[in-house]
Amino acid sequence: MNNSNQFVKNSFLFSLQRPFKTLFLTLKNLLPLMTDINHLEKLVIQVRRDILRQVHKVNSGHPGGSLGCAEFFVALYNELMEHNSNFNMNGKNEDLFFLSNGHISPVFYSVLARSGYFPVEELNTFRLLNSRLQGHPTTHEGLPGVRIASGSLGQGISVAIGAALAKKLNNDNKIIYTLCGDGELQEGQNWEAIMYAAGNKVDNLIVTIDYNGQQIDGATDTVLPLGNLTEKFKSFGWEVLTIKEGNNLQAIIKTMKEAKSKTGKGKPICVLLHTVMGNGVDFMMHTHAWHGKAPNDEQLEKGLAQNPVTLGDY
C-alpha cells in the first residue's frame, strides 16, 4: 500500500489538480511554521548539550542512542503529542509516551525537563545517589513524565498496548506513542506484543523504532541481522511508515503526522526512524562505540563546541 496516496485520499485535496495538490501538501506538511522550526532546531542543539553534559558528569550513561533520537523527542514533545506537563500518572485525555529502550534516558530527561515536567537544574543529578533521574527511567522515585520503568529491554511495547487498551475502555481517543531500539527488537516479547496488537486492532498506538543499525557489540547486521523490518511488521499485520531522514525535524514531523492520521483505522502503526547514532557530534556518529560510553573532558568540549549554546545550559 502506498502511504502517501492513502493520505491524499483521506484529505479534501484528493479532488484538486496535481500541481495544486503538491503545493498544498507541501504547505500542510511544512507545519510547524519556519519560526517554530528554528526554535525546535535550537532546542535540539540544547538537548544534545544536555545529553553530553549529563553523561560526562557521571562518566556513565548512553550518549549514542540519545543523540540519535534528539530530533524525535523534540518533535514528539513539542509538535506531535497533546500532553500535559502537569503530570498525572493516569494521563487521561492526553497522548502518552513510553520509552522502551530505557538506556537513552539522557535525551528523555532533557526533553521532559525542557517541556516543563521538572526543573532543568535537576539534570545535574543524573545517575547520582538519591536522584529521581535514575540510570534508566523509573516511576519509583516519582519523576514526573515517566509512567513505567524501563532498562531491561523488550517490555515497552506491551506496556504501551496496555495503556492503549485502557484508553479505549475509557473512551479516551488520545494516542499512545512508544520508542523501541532496533537491537531491542531481537527480544521475543516484542513479537508477542506485535502479534497481539495487530490481532486485536490496537490502532491508537504508534510504535517508533530507533533504526540506527547499531547495538552494544556492533552493527545489528553483524550481531544479529534484523533483515527486512518493513516486511516483518507488515507480515505481522502492521501499517509501516519509514522516516529516511530520522534526524531531520521536518521529515519527522511530516511522517509522524501522517502516522497519526492513520490511527483509528484498525491497524497498529510502526514508524521506522532511520537515525544516526551519536548524531550531531562528529566523532560519535555512525558507530556503536558510544552506545554506552561517556566523553572525557576534552571530548565533551569538542562535542559542545559543535553544538554551541542556544537556549541556556542548566
Binding site: N90, K92, A149, G154, Q155, S158, A163, D172, A193, Y196
Partner: protein, 317 residues
C-alpha cells in the same frame, strides 16, 4: 480442640472464579487477562458477563504482564490469569520491572501451583513461585487454603493498592473456612490453639495441618495450627507469639523447602527467637505425574508427613 468441618470438596481456583464473577459486577475498574487458559482459571463467567473487560492475550505471558502493567495507567485493576509457573518463572523480569519496580496495581492470579496439579508433571508443577514472588520488593504474596478463602482473597486484593501474587490450585480439596469471610491481607489466622508445637501452614497444607493436629491430639500432643495465607508481608508477630509458647515449629507448604515460607519463618526465628523447626515441603526435587493424593504422599506433603515432622521436632525442643 477446635474442630473444622469440610462442607464439601471444591477447587480453590473455582473460588477465584467466583471472586472474579463478583468483582465483575461490583468493580467496573477490574479487568481480566488470560493467556489461553480461560477454562482452567475459571475465568469463563467473567468473560461471558464482561466481554469488553476480558482480554484474551494468547500464549504470551510476558506480553500479558506488560499489558497488565500498562492498563493500570488509566485506572484499571488488571487480574492476570495463567498457571503458576507461567505467572512467575516465565515472566519474572517482566513482573520485576514493569509491575513491582514500577509499583503497578496488578493482581497476578496463579492456578495449578505445586505438585497437586497432578498428571501434567514437573514442567507445570512449580514449587518455587512463593520464593520467586516473595523476593520482589513491594509484592504481596498470598496462598489460600480453600474455596471460600480464595474467593475472599480475590475480593480483598482488588481493594489493596499495589501488586499482588495470589496462588491457588487445581484439585478439589476440603472447603472448611467460613463462607463470606473477610480476608485480611497479612494477618495470620489462628485455627487451633495448642501448647506443644506450632504448625504454620499455607495453601493446600492447611487442611492437612488440621488433620495432623487431630491425630497428634489423639497422641496427647497439643498442636497450635496457624493458617499463614499471606507469606508476604509475613505475620511474624503471630508466629513469634506462638513459638514463645510452644518452643518448636513445623512449617508446611506445597513448595520447595528452599526459598519458601519455611525459610522465611527460619529467618524470623533466627533474627528474633531461635527455635527448632521442621520443614514439610518438597526436598529440592522436581515433581512428576501422578494423582494429587499420590504426589502429596510421595513428596511428604500430607497430614501424615506433618505428624511425622512434628514428632521429630518435638525431640529437638
Amino acid at each position: 480442640m477446635k474442630k473444622y468441618t469440610n462442607t464439601g470438596n471444591k477447587d480453590t481456583r473455582s473460588g477465584f472464579g467466583a471472586g472474579m464473577t463478583q468483582l465483575g459486577k461490583t468493580n467496573p475498574n477490574v479487568v481480566a487477562l488470560c493467556a489461553d487458559l480461560t477454562g482452567s482459571l475459571k475465568m469463563d463467567e467473567f468473560q461471558a458477563n464482561h466481554p469488553e473487560r476480558f482480554f484474551q492475550i494468547g500464549i504470551a505471558e510476558a506480553n500479558m504482564m506488560g499489558i497488565a502493567a500498562g492498563m493500570t495507567i488509566g485506572g484499571k485493576i488488571p487480574f492476570t490469569g495463567t498457571f503458576a509457573n507461567f505467572s512467575t518463572g516465565r515472566v519474572y523480569d517482566q513482573i520485576r520491572q514493569s509491575i513491582a519496580y514500577s509499583g503497578k496495581n496488578v493482581k497476578i492470579c496463579a492456578s495449578h501451583a505445586g505438585v497437586t496439579l497432578g498428571e501434567d508433571g514437573a514442567t507445570h508443577q512449580i514449587l518455587e513461585d512463593i520464593g520467586l514472588m516473595k523476593m520482589l520488593p513491594g509484592m504481596t504474596v498470598i496462598n489460600t487454603c480453600d474455596y471460600n478463602q480464595t474467593k475472599a482473597a480475590t475480593l480483598a486484593i482488588a481493594e489493596h493498592k499495589g501488586p499482588v501474587y495470589l496462588r491457588f490450585g487445581r484439585p478439589s480439596v476440603a472447603n472448611f473456612t467460613p463462607e463470606n469471610q473477610t480476608f485480611e491481607i497479612g494477618k495470620a489466622v489462628h485455627l487451633i490453639e495448642g501448647t506443644d508445637v506450632t504448625i504454620v501452614a499455607t495453601g493446600h497444607l492447611v487442611w492437612e495441618a488440621i488433620q495432623a493436629a487431630e491425630t497428634l491430639f489423639e497422641q496427647g500432643i497439643s498442636a497450635e495450627v496457624i493458617n499463614i495465607h499471606t507469606i508476604k508481608p509475613l505475620d511474624a508477630e503471630a508466629i513469634l507469639k506462638s513459638v514463645t509458647k510452644t518452643g518448636c515449629i513445623v512449617t508446611a507448604e506445597e513448595h520447595n523447602y528452599l526459598g519458601g515460607l519455611g525459610e522465611s519463618v527460619s529467618r524470623v526465628l533466627a533474627e528474633n527467637h531461635p527455635t527448632p523447626q521442621a520443614f514439610v515441603a518438597t526436598q529440592d526435587t522436581f515433581g512428576e505425574s501422578g494423582t494429587p493424593a499420590q504426589l502429596m504422599e510421595k513428596y511428604g506433603l500430607n497430614a501424615a508427613a506433618i505428624v511425622q515432622k512434628t514428632l521429630d521436632v518435638l525431640k529437638r525442643k
